[in-house]
């Protein structure tokens, strides 16, 4: 607050009304003779022909705007006048696109196990985010995860993640698509993105005494910088909690499935009732239950997005960048040459960086003097 008060207090009562600014702006860019204070001027003695001076200045990128007997007016980067407007138009469009997204965007996240089919129905998303004017997000096609590919650097960091998908439309047509990070797939107006969430799924069959079998799949997450995957779950329709730690390759501690081993702890409430290791296919007994570790597969997260079309946003980004470049890298300049009997006056008007561009006058002066 103190800082803001310090800076703004002298200016609070000086804010220009917008129309005053417009007048100022118009006045600034009107092609009149230099007004005192806004210009850098320089005098030189030269008897060079006017046409030669004109061609010299034109070579420096200036265009002749007005020519009278003793007055020449040149302009450079005249399109730069539009820079401020273009930049703010770009920003306005971006904000508009943001509001459009807020109102109409549809996003949904699912976690699929290899061999699993996602119905594409709104209710089957794990998480969905809808714009305020949207009520449902139904894809209109089914997604089948055929295979998930994962690759690592020598440091154990993820190098590549790929999902091999089979998309089935409402007519039953099938389309094979390969999805990877940074390479989304577009299908029926919906973008599908590869999530960085992935891991191994371990599957169990639990047979409680005198009851039906309960099949469950647990999606494990990779432990940070460790060669194993882990998770803590409650086993559906039972009172048990499973703490799992899964090594895809216990021997070489690699992340590829080669010699898997599962470390399992089973809890009944807070009390641990079983602790042990399991290999694929192993069966254990605990608390009058039979538990079989019967399958290992991969799971991955997929993001489905239906968004405002990308092209208006690209256009808005480009507009704002173009505007900035026009404002700051191609500044508007007006050069006046007034010819007196024995002298020439060069005046340069720049709306910005007056001191830094005044050297241009010195260069012009020396060049014009050399013309004779």
């Amino acid at each position: 607050m103190v800082f803001a008060t310090y800076f703004f207090s002298p200016y609070v009562f000086r804010i220009y009304p917008i129309f005053t600014f417009y007048k100022e702006y118009k006045k600034k860019y009107a092609c009149n003779f230099p007004k005192e204070g806004s210009w850098s001027s320089i005098f030189l003695n030269s008897h060079a022909e006017l046409d030669r001076i004109v061609s010299l200045i034109k070579k420096r990128g200036y265009a002749l705007e007005k020519r009278e007997a003793n007055l020449l007016i040149f302009v450079k980067n005249s399109f730069s006048k539009w820079g401020t407007f273009i930049f703010h138009l770009g920003l306005f469009l971006l904000i508009l696109a943001g509001f459009m997204a807020l109102g109409f965007q549809k996003r949904g996240y699912v976690q699929l196990i290899e061999g699993d089919l996602f119905s594409g129905k709104h209710t089957d998303f794990l998480v969905s985010e809808l714009g305020i004017f949207q009520k449902r997000f139904d894809l209109g096609f089914k997604t089948y995860l055929a295979h998930f590919f994962h690759e690592y650097w020598d440091t154990g960091e993820v190098k590549e993640l790929k999902s091999y998908l089979l998309l089935v439309d409402e007519k039953g047509n099938r389309y094979k698509k390969v999805l990877s990070v940074n390479q989304p797939v577009k299908f029926q107006g919906i973008n599908i993105y590869q999530s960085m969430n992935y891991g191994y799924t371990v599957s169990f069959i639990l047979e409680p005494e005198n009851q039906e079998k309960i099949v469950s799949h647990f999606m494990l997450n990779r432990a940070t910088n460790k060669p194993y995957f882990e998770g803590f779950f409650d086993y559906p329709n039972t009172k048990y909690f499973f703490k799992l730690l899964f090594y895809p390759d216990i021997e070489f501690k690699s992340l590829y499935l080669k010699n898997p081993k599962l470390f399992l702890q089973i809890f009944d409430g807070n009390k641990m009732i079983y602790e042990g290791q399991m290999k694929l296919g192993d069966i254990i007994f605990f608390d009058k239950n039979r538990l079989q570790f019967f399958n290992v597969s991969m799971w991955t997260g997929l993001v489905f997005v239906q968004n405002v079309d990308i092209y208006p946003i690209y256009f808005a980004f480009l507009l704002s960048l173009l505007g900035l470049l026009l404002i700051y890298l191609f500044p508007y300049k007006q050069l006046f040459i007034k010819i007196y009997d024995d002298q020439i006056m060069l005046s340069l008007y720049v709306p910005k960086f007056k001191h830094l561009t005044s050297y241009e006058l010195e260069i012009l002066k020396s060049e014009i003097e050399c013309l004779v």
Binding site: T155, E157, F317, K352
Partner: protein
Amino acid sequence: MFGINTMSFEIFIYLYGITFIIYFLSFLFYVYNFLFEKDKVLKFAMLLLSLGLIPHGLGILIMWFITGHGPYLTKHEVISSNVWLIIFVFLFLSNRYPGIKRAGLIVSAICLILMMFVFLTTPKIVRTSPTLKSFWLIFHVLFNKLAAATIVLALAFSVLYILKERNEGKSHFYKKLPPLPVLDEYVYRFMSLTFVFWTITIVAGSMWANQAWGSYWSWDPVEVWSLITWLFIGLYLHLRHFLRLRGKRSAYFVILCFIISFLTIFLIPFVVESLHSVYFK
């Protein structure tokens, strides 16, 4: 460390040592020029600063070779490459605007401090995540580094402006500096460049985020801080244009913008948990 080439790594350490010594000598020449008003020394300072870029650049290239990616992941890589670019931009622009040479005193001091941070951090080998395999990465990273370089230059001129205003006529160093309105305009020039570069950084990052995650903006802490920095720089430019913010007030405002940008580039990604922090391990 996995797969590290020990010999290359040793060369890299030597090169960084040499770089630090050269930058330090350059800084000493600038200080000498400041204290004893010897203009000839300025040339040596500039020359040393230019020479320092060679071992420094080689060091960055060796690390690039070892890690297999550009200098944008670890603290060590980010700060070191930013220092290289700050000095390069300063030297490049001092050819165009000879008046800025004396700002080397501040630029070399800032770079020395940053290089000390580089020495305090251990170089690590971090491999690139698949998210980083994007065309937009080049623009996002390069323009962010350029923005860091130009805002450091804006800061240097703001500091020089304040010093010159306080000590006008007291020493030869200040007399040799460009006049106050010119210094003020340099600040404006570099801030405008920072705004352009920062905008491109945000735009490229946003495009990239959409390509990778399907969302242009996620309100991630680094994104938010980047937006705050951009808004502050934009505010500076508007205050200057419409409300004639000039001189000392302008200089102080630029220092504030620098502090915010410094937090955004060098602190937030490494301290706060965010989507970006995955990459700045």
